[in-house]
Amino acid sequence: MSSMKIVTTTLLLISFTMPFSAPALAQDYFISDAKLVTNTTDGIIEQADIIVRDGKITEFGENLIAPDNAQIINASGRWVTPGLIAPFSHLGLVDIDAEDATNDISSWDSETSISELASDSFNPKAASIANTRRHGITHAVVSPDTAGNSIFAGTGLIANLSGNYKSVENNRAFIYLELGESGTRRAGGSRAAAMAQLRAALDDAIAYPDRYKGPEDGDVLNRQDASALLGVISGQMPIIIAADRGSDLLNIIELQKAYTDLDIIVLGAAEGWKVADELAAAKVKVMVDPHNNLPLSFDMVESSFDNILILDAAGVEYAITNTSSLDVTNAANLNQHAGNAVGNGLSWDKAFAAITATPAEWFNLDLGTIISGQEATLVIWDGDPLNVTSAPIDMFISGKRQSLKSRQTALRDRYMPTSKETKPYKYR
């Protein structure tokens, strides 16, 4: 397999992960009396203290002693959890969905697809970042969307939601593509065309660079897109495939068997319950929205609230997402979607892991659980984090305290109905 050797070498050259380093002189914290959700076999520790030093969790448990110089935060029995990870979003790629000039989610007229890095579009100062952060979401999987004649959207990223420049933690985190109705349309009108495009693209990447004497020599991918797919065919980078229909999911399982190194995550999987055992056997992961129960399309005719319960029972690995919500607003309501899975019968621990530990593991993030030595990315809540009436009251990303203010809180404060302020609003 000489071509695979070349693949691996090339990958080392082109793929890099932006290091995220804690600041040299970070404030240390001692969080006391927390109802601590560890997301590990430690479960929930009712009266835990947590020591945060140099941006890491250095110790946690009952009756710890506060280190010198640590700022003490009394959680007073409140819930403390790992930060939530939005497993699929367009955060930072858009200001206003309907205003094309502000919207980098899709590139309609470009000649490329897979090689487009969403991180080049990502703007941590977009108002939706801080608006979303205050819902307890510390990290987001950010994906471009498909456009034009390609089933491939591009290369997605992982970012923290600190809102700081350089908050992208991995700029080549995954490749996103669509099958189902969208991919079918883009490929020319049939599922057969979409699957042919997908297999040919994978083959182009496998045959890279031998197949390319000129930039357009691939069967379906140009040279730069083929080289951007190398991480996927070697399994070093997940490939996220949008699909809902049971038969499409079976096509994906067959793909997994033919290209064994692929690390496939299915986005949607509304009919996943129909083929749950097959998904589990093939170790294909799924991101599902527990709110989906309507036959919104013929791809989702058999949508059901029971989907996640059946996937869980079959042993399929799943993350919870919120694809049924509006775009910019989307990621903020992640806890509601997970909470409703609980309302429909999933265990709290599993639902919570599906928006924290599970996506962290899938994307190789040192996050999502409470383990000594891990990044101190923590949220203190004023109630059960999966209840819609709860909200964060304090938040840390890699040990750095986060602001819970945003453009929305500024508007809120200006127009507070209880305000005694008499100055015109623009002076407030």
Binding site: I96, D97, L294, L296, T389, Q408
Partner: protein, 467 residues
């Protein structure tokens, strides 16, 4: 005040015209005669709804939220003939208690009015959302007050059944927001029926959907206009002028050719048809209120009203309600200033606030949408009780639809539209266990009673899949 229908009857007596009355309000004048004509007053598309059978039912030990701002712990409620016959902490002196054929011990559970969604497109943008199902916007002209949402409602939309499971007992279906005057809305009982007439809320007033802002100017900007907010306002005013003239002619007894478009607008001017207006920006809503004053009509409700929190005092002065989301924002420029406290801030200003869905998904959990925004309002420093906040789910929508005398609260004499919840509905985890419409059990989690659309037949393991 004379209704348009009243005007017509006067005309008939005065002018002795041959009248073919085809709706409750309006008439076709086909010529004049000298004899007074007896008229058939059966309206077109009349409601054929009649409640399903119900029992005399006593619910005890319930945590009741009544929709009037009261919470009753360990309360009881009696349903008789589909109506609420008694409600309170202690109704043991009610002489009808012994007639109860069904008693439900609701210990640990909550009892509320059925939820009313004032902004839904179920049926006119149904599931599955294939091209053939897009019946919500008559995108052929910015002025389409002649169309009615009910003529685009597909009663087999599976969304009705899922909304029932979420506690929706009444819902208002609107045309979309492409047009300045989009057409008439219709208020439906959330009951399974083969026809939309079988769902229509008997005698509920018609409504008129209007739209502000970005949508009309975007849709018609390159199709003859309006192409700006200026054009939007000119379009409203020039058509109100026509409607006022039409109404005046009818009042004067002039011969007028029947005009469906102007009939609807004249119905607004006479107060019989309620204006439900899509409008996001605060400044635009206030301009609309000025137009309403100019032409002497009322805006009953602004829908979406993402910036209503900026003008709560003005909405209160004008007695205009706002129907809002808990947290949608940012999908278009006019929604950029959305905040999480919109509903409670409008409420705190003393105006009439309510939640709405505009979505086949969130209509299934409007209680959670209220719980979110209620919690955010209190977190910002307000002090609103759950019992007050419940008004956003049923009481104020009923008021804004002109049906508060019949539903929206748990009061003696009202329709028994009731939801029994597994737990406090201000949480993510509560689910409707039983939903009653006019006292009839329509959804029952325990027994699996739930309507199933024709569309959903034939799929799934129990429907013809082979081994």
């Amino acid at each position: 005040m004379l209704t348009i229908y009243g005007y017509l009857k006067n005309i008939m007596k005065k002018k002795l015209c041959l009248v073919l009355l085809s709706t409750t309000f309006f008439a076709i004048f086909t010529g004049c005669d000298t004899a007074e004509v007896a008229v058939d007053t059966v309206p077109a598309f009349a409601s054929t709804y009649s409640p399903l059978d119900s029992e005399t039912m006593l619910i005890t030990n319930a945590h009741i939220i009544d929709g009037n701002g009261q919470e009753i712990e360990n309360g009881a409620l009696l349903v008789m003939d589909g109506k609420i016959a008694a409600i309170g902490k202690d109704i043991s002196d009610n002489s009808n208690l012994t007639n109860a054929t069904l008693t439900i011990d609701a210990k640990g559970r909550y009892l509320t009015p059925g939820i009313i969604d004032i902004h839904s497109h179920l049926g006119n943008y149904p599931s599955p959302s294939v091209n053939a199902h897009g019946d919500g916007n008559e995108v052929t002209s910015p002025i389409t007050s002649e169309v009615s949402a009910e003529h685009g409602v597909w009663p087999q939309d599976p969304g009705f059944d899922e909304a029932l499971q979420g506690g929706i007992t009444t819902l208002h279906i609107l045309p979309g927001s492409a047009n300045l005057f989009g057409g008439r809305g219709v208020t439906l009982r959330n009951v399974p029926s083969r026809t939309v007439q079988g769902m229509k809320f008997p005698d509920a007033p018609y409504t008129l959907k209007m739209a502000c802002g970005e949508n009309p100017k975007r849709v018609y900007g390159e199709q003859g206009g309006p192409g700006s907010r200026m054009g939007n306002v000119a379009g409203y005013r020039s058509n109100w002028i026509k409607a006022a003239e039409y109404k005046k002619k009818i009042e004067q007894g002039d011969d007028v050719e029947r005009d469906l478009q102007l009939e609807t607008l004249a119905g607004v001017l006479s107060g019989e048809i309620l204006v439900q207006m899509h409008c996001y920006r605060a400044d635009e809503m206030v301009q609309i209120l000025d137009i309403a004053k100019e032409f002497d009509y009322k805006v009953t409700t602004f829908h979406h009203a993402v910036e209503a929190y900026k003008i709560g005092d003005i909405l209160k002065e004008n007695d205009t309600c706002a129907a809002m989301w808990a947290d949608w924002y940012g999908f278009k420029m006019e929604s950029y200033d959305g905040i999480l406290e919109n509903v409670p801030f409008v409420h705190a200003a003393g105006a009439c606030a309510m939640i709405h869905s505009d979505s086949e998904n969130s209509i299934q959990r409007l209680n959670q949408e209220v719980a979110k925004t209620w919690a955010n309002g209190n977190r910002a420093g307000l002090d609103i009780s759950k019992a007050e906040a419940w008004k956003w789910l049923s009481t104020n929508p009923a008021k804004a639809l002109g049906i508060l005398d019949q539903t929206g609260t748990l009061e003696v004499g009202k329709r028994a539209d009731i939801v029994l919840w597994s737990a406090d509905p201000f949480t993510t985890y509560a689910r409707p266990e039983k939903v009653f419409i006019d006292g009839a059990l329509m959804f029952d989690k325990e027994s699996g009673l739930k309507p199933k659309s024709d569309f959903r037949l034939g799929y799934g393991p129990e429907n013809g899949e082979s081994e």
